[in-house]
Subunit: 334 residues, 3 copies
């Protein structure tokens, strides 16, 4: 089974072997550099939301492989219609079937799409991954999800790559605490969802740690429980959840219960300002290697001492974004 | 006569032979791919209005030819003074003679410019093609019009290319209905003007179809009548205009009469919501192959069934933008 | 002493020999073209303020050298925290140590940064060169200042390059009048500061000419006086300051005294609308070759006749931005 010409909207689209194939390729690129295997190919990134890390990684990866990189900020300027049969007399100026299907996917070899939810709208209206899925359906070429409402598979690969670099032996010997942390604003859940499912499926022992009221999407949780079985545990006390953990993966996210209600979300999260990964909590872990996808609020989500300390894997995690992105492009297009 | 180092602000700048030379080159690129004949050359696109299709085409064409592509969104941030002798104590921050003449055209090999009219201002103040012409006058290098108030020659070449791919023999044996269609907002006329003049000059039988009150610029019409002679007819009834046509080219545009008066334009266009290219009208054509430059409002300008039907040339038309753009860059710079 | 892997935040970071090395390299590129000595290298430009000339120069220089160029407009979208130990619960979304240190400087080979002051805030709060310096401290790779509150070294190199192309023999035989001119808005002082220090240090005879109340930063002036000694003179009368000068370098800037007080600045500058470099003043110079960094307000800062006249070096000055930028990238990275 090959990844050639395949779309990746979620890591669930890949078998464990295929994930392994990508991580092995990324490791090869780290050793030997990235060779120009994609000369003459064209990679297009459409960013409906701002991005620096993901965009930079895509551009560097594509160009290092010798491909053309065409990245565009299309937020605001390009409201796409997704519905079949829509009578387009409103504010949508183009249908995804035309923009992507008739035009773009006929002139490039791969399309990446980033599209966040509007966190001020109810979860049911946030569109799940409607835009990314519609682009994939309309396109004649492979599509990569560069972060949607639900998933962020390129980040998930960088996370797995970082874990694999450090944790040897049976994954179930290693405990990862995937923990919510305080942040002044509600954030998307894509990174958390992706990490939770990926870590469970890879066989790690996973602790999902968050205050009550900050549950994830029920479908994602059901999937995680199926994948993780009794290797997955849940904790609503941060100290308990982090104690003894090999790895602490921190990430803030919106309250699912009050999603779309910014006032209620603010009230809920304000109750948990003490949810910070600090030196004391890391000292109670074993050794509590620290991971975060960045950007991160220092001394709010994590203390300087942990983020810059000897057990921080954050720089490696961020920089490996380029390697896994190049691995994906190579395996899909070369 | 060579196209080398020539500017193209309108297809009227080209002889029929030169147009043919470009279309032949585009066909060659379709067959053989685009070879890197422009290594070390630099192509700069200045977009005073948003663009995805035109910008993508320019970037892909330039890079596929081996040139550097430098495309910038300069709308809003860069109000250029165009008047000679102006005392620049207002809101214009730079004169076109300095930005383009003294600087940009000294460091790149070709400049493309897109600059739409403000449809909320009277037609006489919309500046016609003042900006594009001023850039061409100031520049020491060739300038391409990437869509101005009056013309969109790169789209026009893609349109001619598409027609040439399908219509054989004497052009005057083929009837093209160039028709207005309903759209909730006033749109520029550049695509229509360009297509009208290009189709007339190429020798096709052309029907210009629009509701009364939606006339085009009188100078453009005079030119069309001279080029088209008795092969050009005008129709204010959509059914009549489309009946029996080999090709239906749809495009909405602003009311020239009420240009700059958004309220009056809205009132005028609302009277013609039934101006849609649908299955019934296509059935009365012969066979009414459908063309549109995109983006298009589905089920407003054209029905899904026509746009996605067997006689739709829209995908080919859009994708050929890259081929004709590459042909232009090659002929002008190689 | 080599420039390899060195940051350049100010021309004061360079010895005179190193400056000479860069100008010689730029002259070589002008003669022989720019060869691709940086294949596989990655250059990233972060523009917290708009730029066309500087960005274009960086992109052309990087690509002509064979490097990847990654330039991003990050103004507004990316408020970086600079303070060590900050508790980031406000509007700053990422710390410079993470964005630049942990991520970006691990995946690119050089970072350029442009960050202007907010001219509506008091000078003490304008942050001097805090952002550029913080980026340099956080980065593991060389950092170039692409214009900060205090300095614009890439412009300064282009200015020195232009002077060197025209002025032979002992620099102290040549008088450069660096003069303020009227402009309807307050502008940053980085170009003036850079030119003043660079011209003094290079040994030219420099006249600093501005209305009283438009003094520069006292630290910059102290440095200029040390570098220039009795070759530096100050003038508050434009006619006197320009009389007999070999070169007239014009630039408007904000009132230091009323910095951050837009109303008072407007009142002050309105008193000096007659500060324009015109034909009459040039006629009294010898010959008063005209320089300006662009963009320039025609017939406000300088008359058309001077800007477009036989003694205007402005086009050469602007176009040499690409050459000196390429020289810097080559010497730092090759």
């Amino acid at each position: 089974m090959s990844l050639r010409e395949r779309s990746i909207l979620s890591l669930q689209d890949l078998t464990l072997d295929e994930t392994e194939q990508l991580l092995t390729r990324a490791a090869g690129f780290r050793e030997d550099g990235i060779a120009p295997t994609l000369a003459g190919r064209r990679v297009c990134g459409l960013f409906f939301n701002p991005s620096l890390r993901t965009r930079t990684s895509l551009e560097i990866a594509a160009r290092s492989l010798g491909a053309q990189s065409l990245c565009y900020d299309v937020g605001g300027m390009w409201p796409l219609e997704l519905e079949d049969g829509a009578v387009m007399d409103g504010d949508k100026i183009e249908h995804v079937r035309d923009a992507i299907g008739k035009f773009l996917s006929g002139v490039v070899d791969l399309i990446g799409v980033r599209s966040f939810p509007d966190l001020g709208r109810p979860y049911a209206e946030a569109g799940a991954d409607a835009l990314v899925q519609a682009v994939e359906e309309a396109a004649e070429v492979p599509v990569l999800n560069l972060e949607s409402t639900l998933f962020h598979p390129m980040q998930g690969l960088a996370d797995l790559f970082t874990l694999r670099n450090h944790l040897e032996g049976d994954p179930s010997d290693h405990t990862i605490a995937l923990t919510w942390a305080y942040h002044p604003k509600p954030l998307p859940m894509a990174v958390t969802n992706t990490a939770l499912l990926a870590f469970c499926r890879a066989g790690y022992r996973v602790r999902l740690v968050h205050p009550s009221g900050f549950d994830l999407d029920p479908d994602v949780m059901a999937c995680a429980q199926e994948l993780g079985g009794d290797r997955l545990s849940r904790h609503t006390d941060m100290d308990e959840g982090l104690r003894g953990a090999r790895v602490i993966y921190a990430k803030s996210w919106a309250s699912h219960a009050s999603y779309g209600n910014l006032e209620e979300d603010a009230r809920q999260r304000a109750l948990h300002k003490d949810w910070i990964v600090n030196e004391e909590r890391q000292a109670a872990a074993d050794p509590g290697a620290f991971m975060h996808c960045l950007p991160v609020r220092r001394n709010v989500v994590v203390s300087d001492s942990v983020l810059d300390g000897p057990h921080s894997w954050v720089a490696e995690q961020a920089r490996s974004r380029v390697l896994v992105q190049a691995a994906v492009l190579h395996e899909v297009l070369a």
